[in-house]
């Protein structure tokens, strides 16, 4: 009898800081011939997402933080990473006027939409080989083109975070473009949790992280009268979960 784990959407709250990392761990590996203590690296590893929410002012209408602070029992969340420098700057980041605005789709008269922004999109790229679960790569991906046919170029770099459909986020550890810049191979960290299939897998340049909150004590904060009900929660640390 398989266990079905419910995955919740992490609420769309304004945040102050965010970091994805997959640092791994080491075990004591003995001494080297030079007399230095070395660590034996953990072959697997888990990734983490650290989020610091900003002051939440909308709790009177939508007490999402109240709900979130009681969801520290191992409940699994799917979090969309905000556009920090860790996410490939395909669209403009709300934090900084950085992004390839030309990749977004304007009206056919080349004007912005009603909200004064060009059309936002989930940029997905096709995976063309079938790497197995547990490997770190190479994953062969076709680079994308904009709505007007111009190639993306070498926008994806090491240090960027990506995810695959239905899966959690990975860090780009190594990347190798072909000469024309139209295809590339990436190696990821931590190792792939699921095998990918050349027929159906695709890579999301704006990734999702799947994990659960592990530091409920630290994250909780109280509503204060002196703050008129605004609340500043503590740091949230999410640990990767495989569902």
């Amino acid at each position: 009898m398989a266990i079905t784990i419910e995955v919740l959407d992490f609420p769309n709250l304004p945040i102050r800081s965010q970091l994805y990392y997959a640092g791994g761990s080491t075990y004591d590996g003995g001494f080297s011939t030079g007399g230095v203590r070395i660590g034996s690296p953990e072959p697997g590893g888990r990734s983490f997402l650290e989020i610091q929410l900003s002051l939440q002012v909308n709790e009177w209408n939508d007490p999402l933080v109240s709900w979130l602070m009681s969801k520290t029992n191992g409940d699994v969340f799917r979090v969309r990473l905000t556009n920090t420098p860790q996410v490939c700057p395909i669209v403009k980041s709300p934090w900084h006027n950085k992004g390839f605005a030309g990749f977004n789709l304007p009206w056919d008269n080349d004007q912005n939409w009603d909200n004064n922004e060009p059309w936002d999109d989930d940029y997905v790229l096709d995976v063309t080989n079938s790497p197995l679960a547990g490997t770190t790569g190479p994953i062969h991906v076709l680079n994308g083109t904009t709505s007007e046919g111009a190639p993306f170029g070498q926008v994806l770099k090491i240090g960027h975070v990506i995810s695959f459909d239905g899966d959690t986020a990975y860090m780009v550890d190594k990347i190798q473009y072909n000469d024309a810049g139209t295809e590339f191979d990436i190696w990821v960290n931590p190792p792939l949790r699921r095998s990918l299939s050349a027929d159906s897998a695709f890579l999301l340049l704006q990734p999702f992280f799947v994990g659960n909150i592990t530091n409920g004590e630290e994250f909780r904060a109280a509503y204060e009268a002196s703050n008129a009900g605004y609340i500043q929660p503590g740091r949230i640390l999410l640990s990767e979960v495989i569902v």
Binding site: G29, S32, S40, P41, P43, N73, V76, T136
Partner: protein
């Protein structure tokens, strides 16, 4: 895809080579419970063997190993040590560790007399969790009996939680070596043993009965 010991030899290199020796080796444990074999390894995540087997990692995200394994000694020292393997049943949402604990108790007949086989897995840089070197046999033990225990511990958020664990005791192949072998010499016994070995008639012990209570003086 070289053999494990060949790779280790390559890592050790020549005796006068003074580079650091670094080998990522982890132990993997195959518990051959009757009908439900379990494969575990000491690490995080799922390990994929070269033969298609999948091994479950017993180290959680915080680096704690829920599977306690003993140090293995060379069994030839005559001590016939008993090894204890303990699994602390982890908790995760949607399941009850108490149910799992009770279910294990109900199925403890699957343990007695079955094998535990330890393997070593070598990881080369960049391989992730799918090593290209086949896992090598390391040691074999025979399981004797499980023991179940529950205790109350202080959890990470300072609340009391119940922790369930299962311990399996096992011995290696040297078990029983110092037992006195039972058996006796008698004509009927000798004839029966010979018949079992395919000899139709063995009269070698026919005079044995007359030797009882006799004293022979050697000159």
């Amino acid at each position: 895809m070289a053999d494990f010991w060949t790779e280790i030899d390559d890592i050790f290199s020549t005796p006068d080579d003074n580079t650091d020796i670094r080998a990522m080796v982890r132990r993997a444990w195959f518990f051959d419970f009757q009908g439900y074999p379990v494969r575990l390894w000491q690490g995080q995540g799922k390990l994929y063997g070269t033969d298609g087997s999948e091994w479950l990692g017993t180290v959680d995200a915080q680096g704690r190993d829920v599977h306690t394994v003993p140090r293995l000694n060379d069994g030839r020292d005559g001590s016939s040590a008993t090894y204890s393997f303990t699994l602390s049943i982890p908790t995760y949402p949607g399941t009850s560790p108490l149910e799992l604990y009770n279910a294990m108790k109900a199925e403890q007949y699957r343990v007695a007399g079955r094998d535990i086989i330890a393997y070593l897995a070598l990881f080369k840089v960049g391989e992730g969790l799918r090593p290209s070197t086949p896992m090598v046999y390391y040691k074999q033990l025979t399981m004797i009996a499980p023991k179940f225990s529950e205790k109350i511990v202080l959890g990470s958020s300072n609340q009391m939680i119940k922790q369930y664990s299962v311990t399996i005791s096992a011995k290696d192949g040297n078990i029983g070596r110092s037992n006195v072998p039972g058996g006796t010499y008698a004509d009927s016994v000798q004839k029966e043993r010979a018949r079992q070995k395919g000899v139709a008639l063995d009269r070698g012990c026919e005079f044995l009965a007359r030797l009882a209570n006799r004293t022979y003086q050697l000159p």
